[in-house]
């Protein structure tokens, strides 16, 4: 069926259809529609909805629900996600699955409530304390708000690890048609013998992230790192018209849609532009970008931030290509004109 939905609500429906049985959240703009949606749908589907007293409590309720074996989710926006980082680190340490949605807004600090992409570093480079990683999915349409949230639960269960859906305020609040099979069932359901259910017919279990004995934490970390390495196969990336391109645009989320528009304008100016859109921000598609960089020397990254993903793109292309950047901060969105003028201008300079 086709539905008209905000990105936030599409995300909520994706979670419900993935079998999310527990949601705890705390109000913050611009993701409030998602919390409200979960309040309604959890009641309808006999799941658990809790409006927590804080973001700290919300993520820790998810910690408990996940430890108890349920598919669990929380959502927030940038300042709230900062508060959830403690719990995310604990979940990573205790190897608990769970889905965290960040509908980003302008920062730092209280910032504003406009869409932004300034939490890329926080999402992909840790955020919380300790050596941990999590899969970060970056939807760029309402449809992907549904699809990627739906998939996030299976990924979390596959790796016993938190997974983040990293959207932005524009994507969260924009209304778009979305489509899904009304009979869609949760995917990737796994047995959870480790879940805290009471020690009936088995030895008592414990879930913890404290490992005090000499060398044990180091061994645990080695095991975690191996797991993170194995997550590399989850890398996803969309490429458009990259063969024979004069310039490669790299953008994710809402910015990828603006970058697509730029491709048409650039074509009118005789510049063939290709697009790389990372769908997983971690694992980052280094190899895809590196492969394309070997054939195209000009890269152009655009983000709603001071330039965060651009660092990963530079790492990926190494010295083969020139990487330029166009970004705006604090809720600003680089416009099609800003981007194309910069590309056309720099192209002229080069000639």
């Amino acid at each position: 069926m086709k539905y008209l939905s905000t990105g936030n609500e599409a995300c909520g429906e994706g979670a419900i259809r993935a079998g999310c049985r527990f949601y705890a959240g705390y109000p913050i703009t611009p993701q409030n529609e998602l919390t409200a949606y979960m309040a309604r749908r959890m009641e309808e589907t006999d799941g658990v909805f809790i409006q927590a007293e804080s973001e700290l409590a919300a993520i820790n309720m998810v910690f408990g629900a996940s430890a108890a074996g349920a598919r669990a989710m929380t959502s927030s926006s940038s300042p709230g996600i900062s508060l959830k980082q403690e719990g995310i680190s604990y979940m990573a340490g205790a190897e608990l699955p769970g889905v965290i949605v960040n509908v980003m807004r302008g920062g730092p600090g209280l910032g504003n409530i406009a869409g932004s992409q300034a939490d890329y570093f926080q999402a992909t480079k840790g955020g919380g304390h300790g050596d941990y990683r999590m899969i970060v999915l970056a939807p760029s349409t309402g449809q992907e708000m549904f699809d990627l949230t739906y998939e996030a639960f299976a990924l979390a269960d596959r790796y016993n690890n938190p997974v983040m859906v990293l959207a932005d305020g524009m994507l969260g609040q924009m209304m778009e048609p979305i489509e899904f099979d009304d009979n869609i069932k949760p995917s990737g359901i796994v047995e959870k013998p480790w879940a805290m259910t009471g020690a009936k017919g088995r030895a008592a279990g414990s879930i913890k992230s404290l490992l005090l004995k000499d060398g044990v934490l180091e061994e645990h970390n080695k095991k975690l790192q191996e797991k993170y390495t194995s997550m590399a196969k989850e890398v996803r990336c969309e490429t458009v018209d990259t063969d024979g391109a004069d310039v490669i645009l790299v953008a994710y989320g809402s910015m990828a849609r603006i970058a697509r528009e730029c491709m048409g304008i650039l074509a009118e100016h005789g510049i063939r532009a290709g697009l790389i859109r990372p769908v997983t921000l971690w694992p980052f598609p280094y190899d895809v970008i590196r492969g394309i960089a070997a054939k195209c020397p000009r890269f152009f990254v655009t983000e709603m931030s001071a330039g965060q993903m651009v660092e990963d793109v530079r790492l990926a292309v190494q010295d083969d290509s020139k990487v330029s950047f166009c970004g705006r901060m604090g809720g600003g969105v680089p416009s099609v004109d800003e981007i194309t003028e910069q590309i056309i201008g720099s192209g002229k300079k080069k000639i």
Partner: protein, 245 residues
């Protein structure tokens, strides 16, 4: 006739890391005795705090999680909502419950979460070296109240139970102690009552246990028990604070 004291079945047969004379070992045991008596070992899920009792899962032979400092009631809330038929309790020290986790405990109580809370109050942060806690008594010297706790600078002892009593979702509050055999038995009765209230789905209940920390009180185990009896109970009177079951 003599009755042999045996280890409760839900308690692991291992040596504990607690200092000599510490109250935690005793209170752990009381919890286990109650669990055995009401036969719920296989449906119990406990949440341990950050603090001296962080290793409770090494001693308890039932499912136990460890929460971030102070978030214990939030974690218990998540578990209990997924498994409403299980016995879910938190075991928290005064740093965990009365400082960093004040918000979580008040709101879990206010929601009337069907959980039990064992609140071990020894008035100091034991694990981190005996710093001042919200529950530290006026005039008490700690690593971070070197000139004693002075109300004008460090504020007053925080009476969590009295605060919780005003919440409609909280149905049973009792403050007990472990300073004498009689007090120990009263603690066990209170823990049992709290667990039974939960199993009957009557709401949130909490037992505060005044407990000695000989190490950071700088007193012998015997003197520590005397201090509870003479000084601590003056600030934190024993008895039922609320019972609307």
């Amino acid at each position: 006739m003599t009755e042999k004291i045996t280890r409760p079945a839900s308690m692991k047969d291992v040596a504990m890391h607690y200092c000599p004379g510490c109250g935690h070992g005793l209170i752990h045991r009381l919890v286990c005795e109650v669990i055995d008596e009401i036969g719920v070992r296989e449906k119990t899920i406990a949440v341990a705090p950050v603090g001296c009792a962080v290793l409770a899962y090494d001693y308890w032979d039932f499912d136990t999680l460890e929460a971030a400092h102070g978030r214990t009631p939030a974690v218990a809330t998540g578990i209990k909502r997924v498994h409403p038929d299980k016995l879910v309790f938190t075991y928290q020290g005064d740093g965990d419950l009365a400082a960093i986790g004040t918000s979580e405990i008040i709101h879990a109580g206010n929601r009337g979460e069907d959980i039990s809370v064992i609140f071990v109050n020894n008035g100091v942060y034991g694990m981190t070296g005996g710093q001042m806690a919200p529950t530290t008594l006026i005039g008490q010297t700690t690593a971070t109240s070197l000139y004693t706790r002075r109300p004008e600078k460090e504020g007053y002892p925080l009476k969590i139970m009295e605060m919780m009593a005003v919440l409609p979702g909280v149905v049973y509050l009792e403050r007990t102690s472990v300073h004498s055999p009689k007090a120990v038995l009263a603690t066990k009765r209170a823990i049992r009552k709290s667990f039974e209230i939960q199993l009957d789905r009557k709401g949130f209940s909490m037992v505060e246990v005044l407990s000695p920390c000989p190490t950071y009180w700088g007193l012998s185990p015997v003197k520590s028990m005397e201090r509870i009896e003479k000084e601590v109970v003056k600030e934190y009177p024993l008895g039922t604070i609320k019972d609307v079951c």
